[in-house]
């Protein structure tokens, strides 16, 4: 199973992720803090904001127009590393991905 590492404040959590899931859902189902995901993964609320830190970030899909527009509205600062984690599918290729959960989501 691919492993994903989340930095939440000072905490670092690495969890097994199921292919077919998303980086957001994996966090929520493993009780990783900091992700609100109010809309349940529809790129509608911008409350699952993460920063890509390390690992196979090039294996992730490009940012869609809708995600781009939502990222303009995040509460924590938007940076070139910003993504909505609900838009990041888990595949075997993303094994070793490291993300930082944005401090403020809503």
């Amino acid at each position: 199973m691919p492993k994903i590492t989340y930095h939440v404040g000072e905490e670092v959590v690495t969890v097994d992720a199921a292919p077919g899931s998303t980086v957001m859902l994996t966090a929520v189902q493993n009780d990783v803090g900091g992700i609100v995901a109010e809309c349940g993964g529809n790129a509608m609320c911008a409350t699952c904001h993460v920063y890509l830190e390390d690992g196979p970030v090039d294996e992730l899909p490009a940012i869609s127009v809708a995600e781009e527009e939502m990222l303009e509205c995040t509460v924590s600062p938007r940076t070139p590393a910003s993504r909505l984690s609900c838009q990041l599918p888990v595949t075997d290729a993303v094994d070793g991905l490291v993300v930082r959960v944005a401090d403020e989501q809503s």
Partner: protein, 421 residues
Amino acid sequence: MTTTGTLAPGASVVVVGTGQAGFQFAASLRDAGHTGPLTLVGDEPGLPYQRPPLSKAYLGATADGSAVLLRTEAFYTSRDIRVRPRTRVSALDTAARRLELSGGERLHYDHLVLATGTRARPLPVPGTDLAGVAVLRTLTDADSLRVALAEPRDVVIIGGGFIGMEVAAAAVVRGHRVTVVESLDRPMARAVAPAISGYLTELHRSHGVRLLLGRAVRELHGSSGAVRSVELDDGEKIDADLVLIGIGALPNTDLAAEAGLGVCPVTGGIEVDEHLRTSDPHISAIGDCASYPSVHAPGPTRLESVQNAVDHARHLAARLTTGVSAGYRSVPWFWTHQYDAKLQIAGLGTPGDDHVLLGDDTSGSFSVLRFSGDRLVAVESVNKPSDHMAARKILAPGGRRPEPTDARQDGFELRTFLRGR
């Protein structure tokens, strides 16, 4: 700020309802540090789950119900939140502060939260008890519908609201023959402006949905106990082997009403004040079942949405743990997803609003601004998330809002307005 009193540290809190509001309240109450007993009671079979996917992706997915769970079992265990599924509350004794559960067990509370949600509004015509006639409120409903949609069907959807239009989209893209019967002259008429309804009408028709507007249903006909056709008020019969009734929802208020709590005659919901308190100081109501005074609408308001459930829940958890409340004032927002169209709504429109279109409504990416007089009250956006997110900030109480004359200027943009105000 109003001082509302705090829960004692060991106070026992019981939530009736295991939907989004009940779940979020329990999670937020623990996050806020409350350590007393916390119990969620609900009549559904399992753990709290998300409802929005049930009328969309879930219908075509292969994953089981665990895919839509809000949290896994471990979440509740680690926070000492006791979830009691398959449990109906049969009576509420406000004087003794006690619930009676199905099976006779009694459950004491220091504070009770009613998050009882809604049920499907019944269609008052003959034939709705035939096999193949469905509603969609729960995961169990969605599982049944998904099984029914595994084979090609003549699907008739009664009601062109959110759920009806979402299921129409999900069904037609999977090859079913889909007819929607709506009694008003446009889909989602109570929720959105005419331009949005027009866009959705064209979108659905271009995907092959037969959309019958301004038509009512007289009777459902069947043979051997299963539905075969839907008869309209003019006598036309439409072949059907699957009928979904999606004509709205009714708040679950029986428990509250029997206990003597106020129920709003306008919205049908359990009456609460701006701090989400019922007429009994030991009982609050949140989410779809609650009728509250909103700063975003002229009269008593009852909303059916994830946002309303989540924000009510957070507000109440904060009020009970801090003992103060400035009043619930969150901006209402909603979304729906049909085909590739994302419709996002911020604020509350009312019939008779004036409308200003931003962008081109034939382009597939535009917004409609709704004004009550000169006051912006809602923004409805199709594939325009930046407008939606800006609108949510602009509509928050206290800030300056654009007027129709601003919005009609060439090049007007909500996010530019927001930055400049």
